[in-house]
């Protein structure tokens, strides 16, 4: 990690529950192969998966951009979807607009955004109702042991 940026971008299909999680699985595999700390990799995978599931559950489609920067890891998930009318409300634990079919799959408990916040150092959300949402997450890896 000496000044060189590594970047990837993956498409996410809305309502494709069979493949939901594939992108975050790739993110996790890349970080594991690069030798990052397992606890760090786990936190990134959880945040990435929560964001990916939000696209699958709510949006038509989206893209996950994933970059390893010199001092941090950045994930940007942008989607074309309904958008979030009240972001502060969506950040509250337990608040959810997920329909029954998503709750039956074990999601939609209103824990996604709070859990992304818990597993990241920075979480920024920008949304336009009727157009889509951009979620930006920055996660800093633990300092390497000397």
């Amino acid at each position: 990690m000496q000044g060189k940026a590594l970047e990837w971008a993956y498409e996410i299909e809305g309502k494709d529950f069979r493949n939901a999680g594939k992108v975050s699985s790739k993110v996790k595999e890349i970080l594991k192969e690069l030798g990052f700390d397992p606890a760090f990799v786990r936190g990134v995978a959880i945040a990435s998966y929560e964001a990916e599931m939000n696209v699958v559950c709510h949006a038509e489609k989206g893209t996950l951009h994933f970059a390893i920067l010199p001092e941090a890891l950045k994930i940007v998930v942008e989607d074309q979807g309904p958008g979030i009318p009240d972001i502060a409300l969506a950040m509250q634990e337990g608040y959810s607009t997920a329909p029954a079919e998503i709750r039956e799959m074990g999601f939609g408990a209103g824990m996604g955004l709070p859990n992304m916040k818990k597993n990241t150092d920075e979480l920024n959300i920008a949304s336009t109702v009727g157009k889509g949402t951009v979620v930006e997450m920055v996660i800093r890896p633990p300092l390497p042991r000397e």
Binding site: G106, F107, K118
Partner: protein
């Protein structure tokens, strides 16, 4: 306790056996809400659940669940079992209900993610 002891206690059928035949299970979590698993798991648990869709395997993969036991005699479809094979997550299915499965494991010494029960 070892994975095989869990199998015996739950009178379970193995749907996919662990690569490591000595696999040790030290803690467990029971949930049908994958949102709860994603937010509460410490990693390394046996997950007991009544959900059988592919998102259970994906969730387990993300949080480093060691093994999954499906309760109520439920079985995931072949594609979901195949995903668990690819991800190296062993699977059990037991006819016991969730409470009974948890109680049996707790009585034999398995604890929850917080490390304490009593």
């Amino acid at each position: 306790m070892q994975f095989w002891e869990v199998k015996g206690i739950l009178e379970a059928e193995v749907l996919w056996e662990p690569v490591d035949l000595q696999l040790e299970i030290e803690i467990a979590q029971a949930a049908d809400l994958m949102s709860d698993v994603l937010s509460q798991s410490m990693g390394g648990e046996l997950l007991l659940t009544g959900l059988v869709n592919s998102q259970v395997i994906r969730t387990a993969e993300m949080v480093d669940i060691k093994a999954i036991a499906f309760v109520h005699g439920k079985r995931p479809d072949e594609k979901t079992i195949e995903l668990a094979r690819i991800k190296g997550i062993p699977l059990l299915t037991t006819r016991l209900f969730l409470f009974e499965a948890c109680a049996r494991l707790a009585m034999r010494g398995l604890t929850g993610s917080s490390g304490t029960i009593w």
